[in-house]
């Protein structure tokens, strides 16, 4: 099933954007991991006066608004920053909408699907390439966080084990978005449409979980949002692997992946 040619094709097509995303993730994590603890006192003072920003941060972190934004919350901030999340989601969506929607859209599907590889084989080899790329992206963020923390003047820097657990949680979220993107792409003939649909679902999920912090009535639906299962602050407080959250994210990813595989195996590959 593993085909080096197909994996190298996927890497050849994505290496430039993946490298750019890893560099961006690394740089952003270095900046945030350095800046936030260094200016913690000043930031806390500013946040006290800017209640709305405090609410937004609390919403991103998934904490209760009544809690104060302390050192742990600020340490968790680099992992829930919208830029970091956008980088992870965008990479997953860009990668996973290439097959089959992207291939059909640009007309290369005829050549690719005429090769002696099963559709499931194509899907599997793309998945291997995606998993490797996603892992590099998250490791890039992890290394950036470690480097930034080592330069900062934080009194109690985050333990490496906690950082690894947060990175694993982010990777789970990445795979969940990737699975969703694959499922949508398997049903689409136009890449732009597939990207749009996945972005809309992911953004709706993000908004749902953000608003759930403010509203009790919305909170009842928060289990339907992916961000409900990504809580770096909880990891920092409990120092434990969020097994349940990870299982839900991976379960979602696998379910979507399997649906996508079934759809791809049964659908017509038409010209557009």
């Amino acid at each position: 099933m593993v085909n080096i040619g197909l994996i190298s094709k996927a890497i050849r097509e994505t290496w430039f954007s993946t490298t750019a995303f890893i560099l961006a993730m690394f740089t952003f994590q270095v900046m945030l991991a350095f800046i936030l603890p260094t200016f913690q006192k000043d930031l806390s003072h500013v946040l006290e006066n800017l209640k709305f920003v405090q609410y937004i941060i609390a919403a991103l972190l998934g904490t209760d608004m009544a809690e104060t934004i302390g050192p742990e919350a600020l340490s968790a901030m680099p992992w829930v920053h919208p830029v970091v999340l956008t980088l992870a989601w965008t990479h997953a969506i860009m990668f996973c909408t290439r097959l089959p929607a992207g291939e059909i859209d640009r007309g290369t599907a005829d050549v690719l699907f005429a090769l002696p590889v099963s559709r499931l084989g194509l899907y599997l080899n793309e998945t291997i390439a995606l998993t490797g790329s996603g892992l590099l992206l998250v490791v890039g963020g992890l290394l950036g966080g470690l480097l930034g923390a080592s330069w900062s003047s934080a009194e109690a820097p985050i333990a490496l084990s906690d950082l690894v657990v947060i990175a694993a949680n982010l990777f789970g979220l990445y795979l969940a978005v990737a699975g969703l993107a694959w499922m949508v792409s398997a049903m689409a003939d136009r890449r732009g449409r597939a990207v749009g649909v996945v972005f809309a679902i992911v953004m709706a999920s993000f908004v749902l979980n953000t608003l759930a912090t403010f509203s009790e009535s919305i909170r009842r639906f928060s289990a339907f949002g992916l961000m409900n299962y990504y809580k770096p602050l909880r990891v920092l407080r409990e120092h434990a692997l969020p097994v349940g959250d990870l299982l839900i994210l991976l379960g979602f990813a696998v379910t979507c992946w399997v649906i996508g595989a079934i759809v791809l195996a049964r659908r017509d590959i038409r010209t557009v």
Partner: protein, 292 residues
């Protein structure tokens, strides 16, 4: 063993019909022409053969394997070039051969480079910098490089210059002489006439003709031009039943011959004829009747 066996194949797209109740077989070593006007269902049939489309009913088999369920196994022995070749813009001939070698788990480089030389394609030019003709050459190289037992080509010479068309024709004849089957769709009737052993003609998704080229030639009418002796006391005779008059006047007849040539010659020998010309069987006209 037949290379292709299509049985009662129907493919619908929603309410519209791509092909309907299609039956045909292609033997090994045969160059098979697949003709029909645009929208007749040629590409639909080809895409079913390659496992890109799932038949609505009926089915197609290649080397006695089902084209849908065993598609990836079949494609080991199939070379395909789509009508509108689209390739990855970052590919050049050299790295395409490396990539396809890795995917097919075969070394395609040596023969692929031979083909590139035969087609006059620079192996270092990237697809993004290629003309349509060059892309078509690369598509052909990738379809031929693994020496498939069946070649499926959708309008293979559409963007090739006449010299390259001849090169491709020679290659296809060589493939067929080695026992490979060639299934090609084309709108170029002279190409089909020169190259194919058998043809199938589709129209509005249905097979309207399937026969050998020799049979078609026998059925094709010849165009006869007769110039009468320039003599004022001579009146042209009555038109015989085996001539269908196309044009008449100025001491000249142009007519379609509907019977064998000897009958015409016997009749002409009794007339005062100054000149007679008989064309080759007009296959183009035969095809045209199916196209119209």
């Amino acid at each position: 063993m037949t290379a292709i066996a299509i049985q009662n194949l129907t493919k619908c797209y929603g309410r519209s019909v791509g092909v309907e109740n299609l039956d045909l077989t292609v033997a090994k070593g045969c160059i098979y022409g697949f003709l029909g006007p645009n929208g007749a269902g040629k590409t639909t049939t080809i895409r079913v053969l390659l496992g890109l489309l799932r038949p609505t009913s009926g089915g197609a088999r290649i080397f006695d394997r089902n084209c849908w369920s065993a598609s990836h196994v079949i494609k080991t022995d199939v070379g395909y070039m789509p009508g509108d070749v689209r390739l990855y813009p970052w590919l050049c001939c050299r790295n395409a051969l490396s990539l396809f070698s890795a995917i097919r788990r075969l070394d395609l480089k040596a023969y692929g480079m031979e083909l590139a030389e035969a087609f006059g394609l620079d192996p270092a030019v990237r697809v993004r910098d290629m003309s349509r003709g060059m892309r078509q050459k690369l598509g052909l190289i990738l379809a031929l490089a693994h020496r498939p037992k069946l070649l499926v080509l959708d309008e293979p010479t559409a963007s090739l210059d006449p010299l390259m068309q001849q090169t491709l024709h020679s290659l296809l004849r060589e493939f067929a002489s080695e026992g490979s089957a060639v299934f090609l769709s084309s709108h170029t009737l002279s190409e089909v006439d020169q190259l194919c052993d058998r043809v199938a003609i589709l129209r509005r998704g249905r097979l309207v003709e399937e026969s050998s080229l020799d049979d078609l030639r026998k059925r094709a009418r010849r165009i006869v031009t007769i110039r009468w002796s320039d003599s004022s006391d001579t009146q042209p005779p009555e038109v015989p039943s085996f001539l269908e008059m196309l044009e008449r006047g100025d001491g000249r007849w142009t007519a379609a011959l509907t019977s064998p040539v000897p009958e015409l010659l016997r009749w002409v020998s009794k007339q005062k004829v100054e000149d007679l010309s008989i064309s080759e069987p007009d296959l183009g006209r035969v095809f045209q009747t199916y196209y119209e």
